[in-house]
Amino acid sequence: MTKKRSLLLALIFASGLVACGEKPAPAPKAAEPAKSAAPAPEAKAEAPAITDTLKKIADTGVIKIGHRDASIPFSYLDGDQKPVGYGVDICLKIADAVKAKLNKPDIKVEFVPVTSQTRIPILTGGNIDVECGSTTNSVKRQEQVSFAPTYFVTGTKIIVKKSSGIKGYDDLKGKTVVFTTGTTNERAMKAYNDEKKLDINFIPSKDHAESFLAVETGRAVAFPMDDILLYSLKASAKNPDDYVVIGDFLSDDPYAPMIRKGDPEFKKLVDGVLGDLYKSGEINKLYAKWFESKIPPKGINLNFPMSAGLKEAIKNPNDTGVGDCGKMKC
């Protein structure tokens, strides 16, 4: 074969390859008739980072909410595997406010599953617009993302089996502890371990249900997590009475909806939604629905009255983050 011809053809193929490397978005869009009806987003903006979430939602016709699988009762899957929870309800309120603000009631709400590990990159990457789960507002995370006002206040404790005889953190010396990767609790526990030289053997896991399972099956003796999540895991366990949540708070963890950084307009809207919920007292109804009533899928009641910390956060809404190492220095 002649060199020239092969060169030419290969060049054509190569440019084709580059083209399909560049624009994977349009093809999938065309495959989805429902979406192609929405106005096509054109490449007009020069700024690479998304700093105008409202415009993004208006252009694409979709608001994307990140949800968790097993952060009960904040954001989890119910009996029909639909995302529900206290946080999900609040995110839906935010979606309603966006629709009202843009005057576009037909904006679609899309739920995207995230994990402790993926939530931040997915948010900054633009695959979700807001996450209302069990995400602690930490100073470290504020380098990457922004937070709306605190909507729940909790902190790190551990869950153990009653039969294990563990009474406090120092009993964990040399034992195996499971943690969910990417959580603030992981950091608080590790900082405590380093400080007290407990020589704990850590095993990582992907989500809270899996971590709790490690305690349930005896692979690990303890699981450090925000106490509210531990109580809900305990309540949903096969034999709730086998477990006990112990310890003083290793860290303070204020939860808040997470949004992209550097987007003051969207932050103002989200802040406003929470502010209204707090001022009108509607938050109390929402709280009672998820923390003091029977919740899906199993109809358990967490019976978890509102803490002083949360009452304070509702009275004076704030988006102050916490440090990275719990109550330890680092």
């Binding site: 030419l8 978005a25 987003p41 490449a43 699988d69 993926t118």
Partner: protein
């Protein structure tokens, strides 16, 4: 041994598992098609006598083939949005969604593997066929698309299909980014209801049936093709 084995939990979650299966099958089929198309381009580039084409293609294929799929999934899942944004200047292109992110990751990963199969397939076509095609006055494009590729693909079909069955198995790895494919759906129910034994064994059974029938089909196909050749 199977005391308390609860088949009910499987039955109740069948619709959700089916949704997951659709995700797995859709991902497999689209990644297979995309992978074969891009793999063919890569193979033609690698076989090109022009180094500017053959070297980058070779480097890409060798690099991708030397790293774990999970790492590739992480690369694409977290960094493709950034890359697309930079390349196209379209700030929303990043919101392509988890399915398409996974699809791009698998397509680009599998393309490297398909490329090597296709390259070997193209090389297995006797030189004489190429010479004959040129002697008849066909252009490079005509010779490639009308003479070489049809024969090459005919030889390659069984191994391309076998690779695709492995691709189907590999799609379960989207677990690492929390997506709900068949295995993801099974795992989510397993952990929520504390029914790991049932769900994981059921998942294994389903995968086995699909993959075994798939490879059985490939074997029959191979036998049929071989008859004509020998």
């Amino acid at each position: 041994m199977f005391t308390g084995f609860d088949f009910d939990v499987i039955q109740k979650s069948l619709p959700y598992l089916w949704q997951g299966m659709q995700f797995s099958l859709g991902l497999t089929l689209l990644a297979m098609l995309g992978g074969i198309v891009i793999g063919t381009l890569l193979a033609l580039m690698r076989l090109s006598s022009f180094k500017l084409l053959s070297y980058p293609a070779g480097a890409y294929v060798n690099l991708v083939r030397s790293i774990p799929l999970i790492l590739v999934i992480f690369w694409f899942y977290f960094l493709i949005p950034v890359l697309i944004k930079k390349l196209t200047g379209n700030p929303y292109a990043s919101g392509i969604g988890p399915f398409y992110s996974a699809l791009i990751a698998f397509t680009m990963f599998e393309a490297a593997y398909y490329c090597e199969i296709i390259r070997a397939g193209i090389q297995s076509v006797p030189r004489g066929q190429v010479s004959a095609a040129y002697a008849l006055g066909l252009t490079y494009r005509q010779a490639t698309t009308l003479v070489i590729l049809p024969q090459a693909f005919r030889n390659m079909i069984p191994i391309l299909l076998t690779t695709s069955i492995i691709l189907f198995q590999d799609t379960s790895l989207v677990y690492v980014v929390g997506l709900t494919d068949f295995m993801g759906a099974a795992g989510k129910i397993a952990r929520r209801d504390g029914r790991l034994v049932e769900m994981y064994l059921f998942a294994a059974l389903v995968y086995f049936i699909i993959c075994y029938s798939g490879s059985y089909f490939v074997k029959t196909l191979q036998a049929r093709y071989n008859v004509g050749r020998n």
